[in-house]
């Protein structure tokens, strides 16, 4: 950060001579301190998970949710400044509802990510505002079935004009990550926050691009990855919050919901077990080294 003190970091939307927007970079710093959040795009759904650091023993367990629902089929989890995340979600809900008002149907996950990307980006353009202190993961399931238009009362023509093409494929899982700059990409697996490096390393091992991982496996992996990512800040207690969106024939029927308690607990148990096994191996390795 050799450019600090040159003045180019004092106002938003101002470029430094080497083409950087320092306010955005500082926002990224805020994100890097936040609890780890991840998303996994599975073949039959999407999982979102977040490591919620318990900042006070007076906080009620299970309350103060960090993953939010947008419309019915999208979930958003953010790392960074929590209030910024809330505002971001509020905007996402407005976008989803205005989409519905216009198109009489749910917003596709890609379109929502695009609009949110545009929204976040706008906060890098003006000196009167600061960029978002969050990186957000947007996961959704676009219905694979022919959807009725909102308020539809009939079934329309069975043949001729308006008749439907058989076997046309539509919908599926969507996972996007939006950064303080407004930059967003679609991902197979996304991670942000403090433990993102470790989480990303784990996500890469999953071979997500082959599209074989099932949603239930995804839930287990997500839990494990959050536990792995927590290893570096072991001194702090945390709570795991997880949500999922399945295909229409899956457990959530295309809706974004909290992962049910029993499945969550089972996944956490498996995660702890996997971690213990890793530790044992490491201990063994370390012991051998010691003997040398």
């Amino acid at each position: 950060m050799t450019s600090i003190g040159t003045g180019y970091d004092l106002s938003n939307s101002v470029f430094s001579p080497d083409g950087r927007n320092f306010q955005v970079e500082y926002a990224v710093k805020a994100v890097e301190n936040g609890g780890t959040a991840i998303g996994i795009r599975c073949k039959d759904g999407v999982v979102l998970a977040v490591e919620k650091i318990i900042s006070s023993k007076l906080l009620k367990p299970g309350a103060n949710k960090r993953i939010a629902t947008v419309d019915r089929h999208v979930g958003i989890v953010s790392a960074g400044l929590v209030p910024d995340g809330r505002h971001f979600v509020s905007r996402a809900r407005d976008e989803a509802s205005s989409w519905r008002a216009t198109y009489k149907g749910p917003i596709p996950t890609s379109a929502l990510a695009n609009r949110l990307g545009g929204y976040v980006q706008a906060y890098t353009l003006y000196s009167s505002v600061r960029p978002f202190g969050v990186t957000s993961i947007v996961g959704g399931w676009d219905s694979e079935a022919e959807l009725a238009v909102d308020g539809q009362v009939g079934s329309g023509p069975k043949s001729g004009a308006g008749g439907k093409v058989d076997g046309a494929k539509a919908g599926g899982p969507g996972l996007y990550m939006i950064e303080p700059s407004g930059l967003y990409w679609g991902y197979y697996g996304a991670a942000t926050g403090k433990g993102r490096q470790a989480a990303k390393a784990e996500l890469e091992k999953l071979d997500l691009s082959s599209g074989k991982l099932s949603l239930l496996e995804g839930v287990k992996e997500a839990a494990r990855i959050i536990y792995v990512a927590h290893e570096d800040s072991k001194d702090k207690e945390f709570e795991l919050e997880m949500s999922w969106i399945s295909s229409l024939d899956g457990p959530t029927k295309g809706r974004h919901e909290e992962v049910p308690k029993d499945i969550l607990e089972e996944a956490e148990k498996a995660a702890r077990r996997a971690l213990d096994e890793d530790e044992e191996e490491e201990d063994k390795g370390a012991g051998e080294q010691m003997e040398e």
């Binding site: 949710k65 939010a68 629902t69 419309d71 019915r72 809900r93 509802s97 519905r100 009489k104 909102d150 308020g151 539809q152 009362v153 009939g154 079934s155 909290e258």
Partner: protein, 260 residues
């Protein structure tokens, strides 16, 4: 030469009288719906032991034209309430979308949708009343069925003026004339709703729809029926009144007694 471009190409005043410029006005008093366009007819509902049953036919009429014959006029809200719509179909669609947006918002909190049928009815009645007070009515008469805050079966009516009332059995439109007397005879006031079974309720509704099919010219023998119980909503939207036929009408001459 006429030097007023505004009058060029117009009928001559000395022949046709002064031009009435109000024809050209693109602005004017703001106009609203003053009559419905595509309409649904009756909605019928009965309370029974442990729930409520609601039925409509599947017809949407355009005046006297049977315009759409697969119209679903029972709309589900959450998992414990159904609204049966009579009247303007586009206003019904507007309200359906309005209710859907409420349901989406309600589900943002983790405890889910907390609005029961009674709350929903209060809300709809206030929407109707507000719109009638703005002289921009939503041209519907609805029945709301489900459960109240104490978990008891709930059935109530609201119309385009914001008028509300509740009773063990209700019907809108033509059904108010034809179905209500049938229901009042089948389930007299002395008979508590705890003594009415689900089957009795459903049969009664079918009976009402049958009578309506023959006596309401804007009705159909295809219908939808919803049964709301604590177990959930059983909604069937493509039902057919069995064995009904208007074929006998071919043979009717004069006022009925005539044979030749």
């Amino acid at each position: 030469m006429d030097h007023f471009p505004g009058t060029w190409g117009r009928p001559r005043n000395d022949v046709y009288g002064a031009y009435d410029p109000s024809y050209l006005q693109s602005t004017g008093p703001k106009t609203h719906t003053t009559s419905p366009a595509v309409t649904g007819t009756s909605v019928v509902g009965v309370k029974f032991n442990g729930g409520v049953a609601l039925a409509t036919d599947n017809l949407a009429s355009y005046g006297s034209l049977a315009r759409f014959t697969d119209t679903k006029r029972l709309r589900v809200f959450g998992d414990q309430a159904v609204v049966g719509f009579g009247g303007d179909v586009s206003d019904m669609q507007y309200l359906d979308r309005l209710l859907e947006s409420i349901d989406i918002r309600e589900n943002y909190s983790s405890h889910g949708n907390m609005l029961n049928a009674k709350n929903l009815h209060t809300y709809l009645a206030k929407v109707f009343y507000k719109r009638r007070s703005e002289f921009n009515p939503l041209w519907n008469h609805v029945l709301v069925a489900g459960f109240d805050g104490e978990g008891k079966p709930f059935l109530s009516s609201a119309d385009l003026l914001g008028t509300t009332f509740s009773a063990p059995h209700l019907a809108t439109g033509f059904g108010a004339h034809l179905a209500v007397p049938i229901l009042r005879r089948l389930f007299p006031e002395e008979k508590p709703i705890e003594e009415i079974s689900r089957e009795e309720a459903v049969d009664a509704l079918k009976q009402c729809l049958k009578v309506l099919f023959y006596r309401d010219a804007r009705s159909l023998d295809k219908y939808s029926i919803a049964v709301i119980t604590k177990e959930g909503i059983d909604l069937k939207e493509d039902e057919q009144l069995e064995g009904q036929s208007w074929a006998f009408a071919e043979r009717i001459k004069g006022y009925g007694a005539q044979t030749v």
